[in-house]
C-alpha cells in the first residue's frame, strides 16, 4: 500500500474490548448467556461458528444496534451501555452512547449505503454532520479513502449503479471516514458474487495489516479468517467453544464441535 494511501487510515492507540457476563435474549431465546471474552488493543479477532450462535449479536451489541439484557461491555476503560454517576453505574443516556460510538465503525453484510446520496456524499455526510469537518476537509478525506479502496473514479456515481463488490468497498471507506478505533465486520462478503469476494477480502486484509484498528470480524470464509486474524474464536450456542491462533484452530482443533463445524463449512 503506497504511503499516501496509508495516511487515509485511522491511526492512534486503539482500545481493547471486554464482555463481562453479557446476556442477550430475543424473547424466550437466550442468544448470549453470561458471555465473557476480551479483545486486546489492536488485536484482530474473528468469530466463527454455526448460524444463530450469537456472533453477529456480539457485533450488534458493540454498535449499539441491540441492547444487552445483562452484563457489561467495555470499550477501553469505559462501559458502553452504562455510565458513572455519583460513583454508581447507571444506564447510558443518548449522549454517552453517542460518545462511545465515535470509537466504533461497522461494515454490514448488505452494505447499507444511502441510495439517495452520491458515493462521495455517503463518505462526507457523517464526517461533516457528526465530526464537524468542513466540507473541504471531508471531501479530501473521502477522496483519499476512495483512492485506497480503488474507486476514485466513482465519487459522483450513484451507489445503486455499482457492483456489489464496489458497493462494499464504498461502505468500507465510509466506515473508515469516521476514523474509528474499532472496526466491526459483519459477514461483509456473504452478499457478494463469488468472483468479487477475494478482492474485498484482500482489501480488508491490507487495511487490517496497515492500521492500528482493533478488529472484530464475523465470517464464514475460513481463508479470510485465517488471513485477517490474530485469534479465532469458535462459537456455539452463545458460548466460546474453543479459541486460538488461526493455524491452531484450522489445523489442529481440539474440540469435536469445531471439527464438525469446519468440516461442514469446508465441504461447501
Amino acid at each position: 500500500m503506497p504511503p499516501t494511501e496509508k495516511k487515509a487510515l485511522p491511526a492512534g492507540q486503539a482500545p481493547g474490548l471486554k464482555f463481562e457476563k453479557v446476556v442477550k435474549r430475543f424473547g424466550a431465546n437466550a442468544v448470549l448467556r453470561e458471555l465473557d471474552f476480551a479483545v486486546a488493543p489492536g488485536e484482530r479477532v474473528t468469530l466463527i461458528g454455526p448460524s444463530g450462535s450469537g456472533k453477529t449479536t456480539i457485533l450488534r451489541l458493540l454498535m449499539t444496534l441491540e441492547r444487552p439484557d445483562g452484563g457489561l461491555i467495555w470499550i477501553g476503560d469505559d462501559t458502553l451501555w452504562h455510565r458513572e454517576r455519583g460513583g454508581k453505574r447507571v444506564p447510558a443516556n443518548q449522549k454517552h452512547l453517542h460518545e462511545m460510538r465515535k470509537q466504533v465503525g461497522m461494515v454490514f453484510q448488505q452494505f447499507n449505503l444511502f441510495p439517495n446520496m452520491s458515493v462521495l456524499r455517503n463518505l462526507t455526510e457523517a464526517p461533516v454532520r457528526v465530526l464537524g469537518l468542513s466540507r473541504d476537509e471531508a471531501v479530501e478525506r473521502a477522496t483519499s479513502l476512495l483512492d485506497l479502496v480503488g474507486l476514485a473514479d466513482k465519487a459522483d456515481a450513484h451507489p445503486t449503479r455499482l457492483s456489489g463488490g464496489q458497493q462494499q468497498r464504498v461502505a468500507i471507506a465510509r466506515a473508515l471516514a469516521m476514523q474509528p478505533k474499532v472496526l466491526l465486520l459483519d459477514e461483509v462478503t456473504s452478499a457478494l458474487d463469488p468472483e468479487l469476494v477475494v478482492g474485498v477480502q484482500d482489501l480488508l486484509r491490507d487495511i487490517a495489516r496497515e492500521s492500528d484498528l482493533t478488529l472484530l470480524c464475523v465470517t464464514h470464509e475460513m481463508r479470510f479468517a485465517r488471513d485477517i486474524s490474530d485469534r479465532v474464536l469458535m462459537f456455539d450456542q452463545g458460548q466460546i467453544v474453543e479459541q486460538g491462533p488461526p493455524d491452531q484452530i484450522f489445523n489442529e482443533p481440539t474440540e469435536q464441535r469445531t471439527r464438525d463445524f469446519l468440516q461442514a463449512v469446508l465441504a461447501t
Binding site: H98, N116, R129
Partner: protein
C-alpha cells in the same frame, strides 16, 4: 332540449372563473395536506404516548367523518366560538385537514418501506436522530410515495365541489347559480363535467410521468 352553443359561449368565462377558484382551493388545500400529513406521521413516532395516541385518535376521527360535515363545522360552527373564516379559507383548511389524514398514512407506509439497514447504517455512523430523518430516511420515503401523493391531489380535486356547501364560488357552484338564473342546466352542468375530466386527465398524465421518473431513478 337542444344544446345551445351560443349560450355555452356566454357562460364559459364565468365557469372558467369558477374553475380557477376550484383549482386554487385544491392546490392550497393540497399544500396543507402534504405538510400536515408529514407532521402527523412524525408525531405518531414520538416516544411520548400522550402525543402519539392523541394524534392517532384525532386523525382517525377526521378520517372517519365526512368532509362535508367538517366543512360545515369550520364554516358554520366555529363562528359561534368567535372564529369566523371566509368560505374559501374554511374550504382550503377543510380539504387540507381531511386529506392530511390520508397523506399521513401514505408517508407512514413510505417510511416503513425504508430498509432497516438504513437506520442501522445511520447509527453506525453516529448520525443524530434529526439528521437521520432529514438526510437519510425522509428523502427515500418521500421519493417512494410521490406517485401515491399525486393520486390524492386528483382525488382531492374531484372532492372540491363539496365546497359548494359552504358558498365557495367554485366551478359547480358557478354552474348551478348560472343554471338557476337561466333555468338551463344542460350546458353549465355538462361543462362542469367536461372541465373536470380535462383537468383530471391532464393531471393523471403528469402524475404517471412523475411515477415513471421516480421508478427510473430507483
Amino acid at each position: 332540449m337542444e344544446w345551445d352553443w351560443h349560450y355555452t359561449g356566454d357562460i364559459l368565462p364565468d365557469l372558467l372563473d369558477g374553475l380557477r377558484v376550484t383549482v386554487t382551493a385544491t392546490l392550497l388545500g393540497y399544500v396543507i395536506a402534504v405538510l400536515l400529513g408529514l407532521v402527523w406521521t412524525l408525531l405518531r413516532r414520538t416516544p411520548s404516548a400522550v402525543v402519539n395516541q392523541t394524534v392517532r385518535w384525532v386523525t382517525e376521527f377526521v378520517r372517519s367523518t365526512p368532509l362535508l360535515v367538517q366543512l360545515f363545522f369550520l364554516y358554520y360552527v366555529l363562528p359561534t366560538w368567535g372564529i369566523t373564516l371566509g368560505p374559501l379559507t374554511a374550504g382550503v383548511i377543510g380539504l387540507g385537514l381531511h386529506y392530511s389524514t390520508y397523506t399521513a398514512e401514505v408517508y407512514r407506509g413510505g417510511i416503513d418501506d425504508v430498509p432497516r439497514g438504513q437506520w442501522e447504517a445511520a447509527v453506525a455512523l453516529n448520525l443524530p436522530r434529526s439528521r437521520t430523518w432529514l438526510d437519510v430516511i425522509l428523502p427515500q420515503a418521500i421519493r417512494r410515495v410521490v406517485p401515491t401523493l399525486g393520486n390524492y391531489l386528483i382525488a382531492m380535486f374531484k372532492d372540491s365541489p363539496l365546497l359548494l356547501g359552504i358558498n365557495v364560488a367554485e366551478l359547480l357552484n358557478t354552474a348551478y347559480t348560472t343554471g338557476t338564473h337561466t333555468l338551463r342546466f344542460l350546458e353549465p352542468i355538462t361543462l362542469v363535467g367536461v372541465l373536470f375530466v380535462l383537468v383530471s386527465v391532464v393531471s393523471s398524465v403528469l402524475v404517471r410521468r412523475l411515477e415513471r421518473r421516480s421508478h427510473a431513478t430507483d
